[in-house]
Symmetry: C5
Subunit: 88 residues, 5 copies
Amino acid sequence: MNLGRIIGRVVATRKDDRLRGIKLLLLQPLRSDQTEIGGPIVAVDSAGAGASEMVLWVTGKEAAIPFRRDVPVDACVVGIVDSADVSG
Amino acid sequence: MNLGRIIGRVVATRKDDRLRGIKLLLLQPLRSDQTEIGGPIVAVDSAGAGASEMVLWVTGKEAAIPFRRDVPVDACVVGIVDSADVSG
Amino acid sequence: MNLGRIIGRVVATRKDDRLRGIKLLLLQPLRSDQTEIGGPIVAVDSAGAGASEMVLWVTGKEAAIPFRRDVPVDACVVGIVDSADVSG
Amino acid sequence: MNLGRIIGRVVATRKDDRLRGIKLLLLQPLRSDQTEIGGPIVAVDSAGAGASEMVLWVTGKEAAIPFRRDVPVDACVVGIVDSADVSG
Amino acid sequence: MNLGRIIGRVVATRKDDRLRGIKLLLLQPLRSDQTEIGGPIVAVDSAGAGASEMVLWVTGKEAAIPFRRDVPVDACVVGIVDSADVSG
């Protein structure tokens, strides 16, 4: 599971029917010290993430789990991060 | 999920039976600022993508979801992108 | 399967319901000689891992297997490592 | 999905029972301009690929789909490529 | 599918119950010319691999297939390699 920040939106009017009604977010992957890693990816959302929030996201087929049906997605925001702290 | 652009076609006459009738696209992966990232890959299409359109695509087993049956594909175009905007 | 060390915690109050009650660990991936490889990732735990312990972890959909239900996770600690020895 | 060329064979007499009777190919991944990318991998075949042919192959669990049963493979040739052309 | 060599063992006394009785191997990934690629990973075994043998291994959820039940593993040795030859 990875950390990231919501930085924008993707709009796609013509799309696979299973994606209707699902918001597409532009997400910048982050390291735990909140520096950027790689470029932005597109993710869907099951946690109600808002603009510029730090989030927890998953990749792969498990990204479809929150939708309780088969949707063709491979990245999903599953939580809003309050803190990510290295201990000791 | 990733962004990309349709740049060509792949033709394969001899292939696994489950791929019959499925169009094979040559797709250039893009960053959200539309610069290229890596080299072209081959993807199938469930969104009716045309030449040179900017698209949204997924990887992995979820690429088979739009076909509602087991097809041996690992990359699928699932939407035509109208815009991918960084906010604020 | 990979080696790593537990280096901290991630707290996410707002999250997908399936993640309720599941501890989120900050994990530093390690090589077998215990040097670091890449940056920390977020993992869940099915082995009772404590702070600074060396662990064995898996990635992908199989990370959900210990939970015996569909949870949207893609990295899970599955063992505490006693030793990782190159032979001969 | 990826392009590649069959460059050799792998022989494994002792192996998981589910792999009995399945040919193991040495495959060089290629870019769409037919230059090499990375080193050779081992793939199984569901398209009748012959030596030095340019092929289309898939990775991940979907590599097992052509076998219509659970086989422990993660790369499978699914087509022989006639052409991979960038348009316009 | 990948080539590799068994270079050691990993011992984990405290672990997920589904891993009980499953041997954990330290495996060095190899190219087809038997040079090393990347660092060692941890894999389970369904082919009876011994120390220093050259093996064929798979990654991902398919690594659990030889166990005919859900085990949280993502890399599994599935064959002992007799030869990996580039033809012609």
